[in-house]
């Protein structure tokens, strides 16, 4: 009960614990060591919402986050730890899957190893960094709420007739004895202030003039923006909200973008290099790309998307020629040109079968490097595909084998039946590439059958190959619009709070004795000149400097 007694003002108003100035009349409540210095006007002297005489555990947590001092520590700590993340490259900046447990030690030695072991190689995704952001967010919400509500209340129900001590201890003060009718004087003075954009409230011989109160809400709107901003950043961890991956597509291929329903086709990749005369001396003779472009088509899968047995059904949604800084954009998905590879890749050949005895040719047939039809009929001949190899080699056991799954040195073994051949068929090995024919001596391997028939490709038009592969960077960031909204709010709040000042003038006339005090949250020079200007208009000339009652920033 003793606490309650202490906070009761002489005007009869019951103030909350922690109140500095009586919420009603403005009389300073705290034991004052220096009764002549200007008052602390922050939040109009009202108590923070959470200030309580005997806090429980929830109040204590609340008070922790409500403290601006704590908020500043949190922000400084976040800045400092964010700096740690910039010492070595972060794990997520590497495109290829690499093993960080070896990389950091290999690249940077012991400091790198320590860096990795401390988890600083993924600073911004670490639990403690996200934890700091969450705490800053909490602090923003609670600090704002605890201050804006009492401030709103205090500004919304202002007592017009303030305590004399309150007026005399403002940073801008004017005292004077006035002649004539006090109420008329107050009215005349108020009319002048009105011309300066003040809103006037009078109560007998007391007056309150106020303008630009809205600028006080600026910091809180700014905080709402920051909270939105933080929430948007945290929302990136929601599945499907953010993606940053890389795909490689050879000319003519269609590739699914991992973890999406989209497929991309690279119709053709082209690269142009600078000619020697276009390059400066020291770069002459080097290949410098001038332009690289992917003719890309984006498809959306409409059915059979994850059915391994069926071919997915694709619907074209967008077509775009991707060049550097001109990505393909579709519903938040962006495909950027990233790199290229000019290694050609054989896709299919269309060979013919020649009867070496008669000279007749049959075909051509379609022979893709992968998943070819198992049987081909060419005139009187039937070719059954017995085996195929992507990179042909003879294994240690003497059996044919493949060294990789890319068509580097493809080979096909057919069982051929037809005129002049054994009725059960004869084996024929076919190398589509001339270099392999020579290297593996195709004719020797085929023995007798090579005198009877030959499978060969007639001209380059019967060879289907990809000249190049394109590397695309796939990005998606659904949180970005919210980041922008947050940033906009934040900027609006910042402007409101910075470009306008909340100014108030209180005055009262007691037995012809005028007491005037004025307060602003910034730009005291402007505050004083407003007062001096209005006094001038009703015939009192004062030097605006003489209104200065001292105090910081006044």
């Amino acid at each position: 009960m003793s606490v309650l007694e202490n906070t009761k003002c002489e005007c009869g108003h019951q103030n909350a614990v922690g109140t500095v100035l009586c919420e009603s009349c403005g009389k300073p409540l705290e034991n004052n060591d220096s009764p002549d210095l200007p008052l602390e006007m922050r939040y109009d002297g009202v108590a923070r919402r959470s200030q309580k005489s005997n806090p429980n555990i929830i109040d204590r947590i609340w008070n922790f986050f409500s403290s601006v001092k704590i908020a500043i520590y949190l922000i400084v700590l976040t800045f400092l730890t964010a700096m740690l993340g910039t010492i070595f490259p972060q794990e997520n900046t590497f495109i290829n899957s690499f093993d960080p447990s070896f990389y950091y030690e290999d690249a940077y030695g012991l400091p790198g190893k320590i860096y990795y072991l401390l988890g600083l190689s993924h600073t911004y995704e670490s639990w403690w960094f996200i934890g700091l952001l969450v705490m800053i967010g909490t602090s923003l919400v609670i600090c704002s709420l605890d201050r804006i509500l009492p401030l709103y209340r205090a500004l919304n129900k202002q007592q017009i007739r303030k305590h004399l001590q309150f007026i005399h201890r403002q940073k801008t003060v004017y005292k004077q004895t006035i002649e004539g009718d006090s109420e008329q004087w107050v009215e005349k003075f108020g009319a002048q202030l009105k011309r300066k954009g003040y809103r006037i409230h009078t109560e007998g011989t007391a007056l309150l003039a106020e303008k630009n109160r809205f600028s006080r809400w600026g910091p809180y709107i700014n905080h709402i923006g920051l909270i939105l901003f933080l929430l948007a950043i945290l929302a990136r961890s929601i599945p499907d909200w953010q993606m940053d991956s890389y795909i490689t597509i050879s000319d003519g291929d269609t590739v699914q973008i991992p973890e999406t329903n989209y497929f991309v086709k690279n119709e053709k990749f082209t690269v142009e290099f600078y000619k020697d005369e276009e390059l400066p001396e020291k770069l002459k003779g080097k290949a410098r790309a001038k332009l690289f472009e992917t003719k890309a088509v984006l498809y959306e899968c409409t059915s059979n998307c994850n059915d391994p047995k069926e071919k997915p059904v694709l619907a074209e949604v967008k077509r775009h020629n991707i060049v550097v800084n001109d990505p393909l954009k579709y519903k938040g998905l962006k495909l950027y040109q990233f790199d290229f590879d000019l290694t050609p890749r054989l896709n299919a050949v269309h060979p013919v079968l020649v009867n070496k005895v008669t000279g007749e040719t049959y075909g051509p047939m379609d022979l893709p490097m992968k998943d070819s039809a198992l049987q081909h009929k060419l005139g009187p001949y039937t070719l059954d595909l017995y085996a195929n190899y992507m990179e042909f080699a003879i294994g240690d056991d003497g059996e044919p084998t493949t060294l990789s799954r890319d068509p580097v040195a493809p080979a096909f073994i057919f069982t051929v039946r037809g005129p002049g051949l054994a009725p059960e068929g004869e084996p024929y090995i076919y190398f589509p590439m001339q270099k392999d024919k020579v290297r593996f001596s195709q004719d020797t391997l085929n023995q007798a059958i090579s005198d009877k028939i030959e499978i060969k490709v007639d001209g380059m038009e019967n060879v289907d190959f990809s000249e190049a592969s394109t590397y695309l960077n796939v990005r998606m960031d659904k949180a970005l619009p919210y980041v922008w909204i947050g940033a906009t709010f934040s900027m609006i709040g910042l402007l409101m709070g910075s470009y306008w000042q909340h100014r108030r003038i209180w005055l009262r006339v007691d037995d012809g004795q005028l007491s005037l005090g004025a307060h602003t949250n910034k730009n005291w020079y402007g505050m004083r000149s407003d007062v001096a200007w209005a006094l001038q208009k009703i015939g009192i000339t004062v030097d605006s400097k003489s209104l200065d009652n001292g105090g910081n920033n006044a």
Partner: protein, 199 residues
Amino acid sequence: MPSTFRYNGSIRSCVDIELVVISIMGKSRKTVQIGILIAVLIIGGYAIGSTLFGAGNTLLKEGSKPPDFKLADLEGNQQQLSDYAGKAVVVNFWGTFCPPCVKEMPEFERQYLKWKDQGLIVLAINLSEDTLTVNNFVRRFDLHYPILRDMNRKTERSYGLKSYPTTFFIKPDGSIMEIMVGGMTEVEIDERIERLLKL
């Protein structure tokens, strides 16, 4: 009390907001405090939790849950890893172009025949080779466990494979007991399966 709250009506701009403010300041203040703290716990807990447990595309390691897959076997039936929840599963990635993979295949066959009655599942995922190549291979070795066909390296990528063969020993609770990169001897396979089946 009446004199305690002396409002000046002329300044009051919006009565509704004021009523809201008063109610927030007053009785429901505790509710608002608890509400905000709970919201912080949920949002913050989700954010921090997803950094600890989410992180879907980081490397698989012992104890983590392997990504599910849905692949066709040689008969054209769909097989899903999740179909075998509650069982000890060996997932082996192999290709005909990889000699240690080829060497392991008959060893897995013998191990499969040895342990299948105790509930062992072996799923051998081919590394996106073509049908004929896979069929020829399986015919040559006469394998009885399901051979699954990855397409366009999708499953292989989701498992973050770097070299072949790679074998995942998956516990009945669905988490990884061990990841073996590279070829194993039959004794090594046997010893691991025995351990897996005891779990």
